[in-house]
Amino acid sequence: MSEIAPIDELPGGLKSGLEAVLMVADSPVSTARLAEIFELPVARIATTLEELATEYDGKDRPRGFELRRVASGWRFYTRTDYADFVSSYVLDGQTARLSQAALETLAVIAYRQPVSRGRISAIRGVNVDSVVRTLLTRGLITEYPEMGDGGATLYQTTEYFLERLGLGTLEELPALSPYLPGVADLESLDSATYDD
């Protein structure tokens, strides 16, 4: 792999390419995965990441973010120096209660898990991206280990969710049928109507 990779032909080169991918990464990305994406050897990826991390630590000024290597890979984090400001942003306007939209989305996930965001949106008739993020942040749901059709991320409820609801297992969730007058088979009903 000594020939020129596509990323080398772009103005910012590999450094900027790595920045772009890491900017949208929610969880740490391994050098192996990055090597695949950029079609480059792992060694070069690793070296460039180290260079980037050093650059952020103080080439001109210490940046507001840093690139850190954790067990499973690399991810952008905020620099601790600025934690006070980040905290005051995070805490501003936060409530201790879940919104109605968040509760309904949680209910759909609980009874249809594992389920993709697209499917939840179709069932609820609105975009649920930010609500799903809130539920993730609150630890009530988590990503399902396997991908759904077309590589969609699936979500499931957590142990913490069961605790908060006072249940031991998912099987203890009450059946839906008593609350659905005249609807015999909900499973077939909603999959027929909302298939994506």
Binding site: L91, A107, I123, R124, L176, Y179
Partner: protein, 291 residues
């Protein structure tokens, strides 16, 4: 939704019918009557003018017939009626062009002018939104190449969030889920065509029904003419029958004042010719306009 399927084909979707010397529109998924009209007009490199509207009438009707023949495309009744409203206005425009040109004297001419201007204005308006849609589509596409950063909170910040108040019981939670999972009711304006196979409603039969009512009760308005039915299909076909009867001068319309009640009565000179209806739809549909 795949990118390819939703994109308009860049190549000319129409085929030229050499023998007839005119255009024939291939079946394409147009976005309603205005989309078809605009396409027909631009294809002839004409400006949107009254002339163009009258000249593309046959092609428009032919397209409509083909859609119906193919059995897909026009799935919704109100969509079909939109096509029919536009088609009947076009037919009137064309009919007016075929008549000897005289002075604009009677009210009918003015009504026709009004109908033309309205159609013209709606077409222009649609064209404006189509342009705006192009802009939006362009932006939407360009912006897909950028992604915003939206990641979950780092654990130390998530830990700062106030403890969640979440004291909803399992029963209440199940009720919530049930309510959220029940399919939302279909919007009320959507009308299916599935019942059409059972009903056999024709312009001829409805014209007879209208004639019978008018013979018996004299002058009536449209509401009275459809008072005996609640079925949409009958209402629509009866409306079409009225247009046909008017074309054949079997009936006359009278309106005392603008936006007033439209009164319908028999002209009393001739009977309705069902054959002529079929002839005019069958006969003119495929024929090119050589003007």
């Amino acid at each position: 939704m795949s990118a390819q399927a939703t994109e308009k084909t860049a190549t000319d979707p129409s085929t030229t019918d050499e023998t007839a010397g005119g255009f024939r529109l291939a079946l394409e998924n147009f976005n309603g009557p205005f989309d078809v009209l605009l396409h027909l007009i631009t294809q002839r490199e004409m400006d949107i003018t009254e002339v163009a509207l009258a000249e593309v009438t046959d092609e428009f009707i032919a397209y409509l017939k083909e859609l119906q023949g193919a059995g897909d495309g026009l799935k919704l009744l109100d969509e079909t009626t939109e096509f029919l409203v536009v088609a009947s206005t076009l037919l009137d425009l064309k009919a007016a062009r075929l008549l000897p040109r005289g002075e604009m004297a009677d009210e009918e001419d003015f009504e026709l002018l009004e109908a033309r201007d309205l159609l013209f204005a709606r077409l222009l308006q649609y064209k404006a939104f189509k342009h705006a849609a192009e802009f939006l589509g362009q932006r939407y596409h360009e912006e897909s190449a950028r992604r915003p950063r939206e990641v979950s909170l780092e654990p130390q910040f998530a830990a700062l969030l106030p403890e969640l108040i979440f004291n909803i019981g399992p029963e209440k939670f199940a009720q919530l889920a049930a309510a959220a999972l029940v399919p939302k009711p279909e919007p009320v304006t959507e009308v299916g065509l599935s019942h059409l196979h059972g009903a056999n409603v024709t312009i001829g039969a409805e014209a007879e029904a209208i004639t019978a009512m008018l013979t018996e009760r004299g002058t009536l308005d449209f509401a009275a003419l459809i008072a005996d039915t609640s079925e949409q299909l009958v209402v629509v076909v009866r409306f079409l029958a009225l247009l046909e009867m008017f074309r054949q001068k079997v009936i006359v319309f009278a309106q005392q004042d603008p936006l007033g009640r439209l009164e319908i009565s028999l002209a009393g000179e001739q009977d309705f010719d069902v054959q002529a209806v079929q002839d005019s739809y069958e006969g003119s549909a495929g024929e090119p306009d050589h003007e």
